[in-house]
Symmetry: C2
Subunit: 86 residues, 2 copies
């Protein structure tokens, strides 16, 4: 892999990773999450898990690291969504 | 790329792609999107665009196709979010 594509991959992963942060912030601030769909979150979590596996198979580090980060953020979103829905 | 990783990549992309569909469906059904953060959507769109670029650089077809699909779904979500926020 050349350095150029490594940087693009990291930039891509940073964007799709931090894209989840405002959602997490909103849930924590407003303490409600009725409009978020839990089904979406579960499917997204499965997809991110598969991306990590794919990255490992292809030894593609930007894919592994950035999807790993997104996976953690998404886990937090699911946790607080369920907590505040009750 | 071996066939095994191709299937994993496609499965991963299908999950992260369809994960956005329930959100789009919810917005269309409820005709409101106050709880969705537009900033998140814009950053996510940039990230998906960069993933497509990364996929092209690495000739990684699962990455290109699935992020292209997510990009389109996300564009629809942004369009209707802005429409219903007004």
């Amino acid at each position: 892999m050349n350095k150029y594509s490594l940087y693009i991959g990291i930039a891509a992963g940073v964007c799709t990773g931090i894209a989840m942060l405002p959602q997490l912030y909103k849930i924590l601030k407003e303490k409600k999450a009725e409009q978020l769909s839990i089904s979406m979150m579960i499917i997204l979590l499965s997809g991110l898990g598969l991306w990590i596996f794919y990255g490992i198979l292809k030894k593609d580090y930007p894919v592994i690291i950035t999807n790993g980060f997104s996976f953690l953020i998404n886990l937090c979103i699911i946790f607080f969504s369920i907590k505040y829905k009750k």
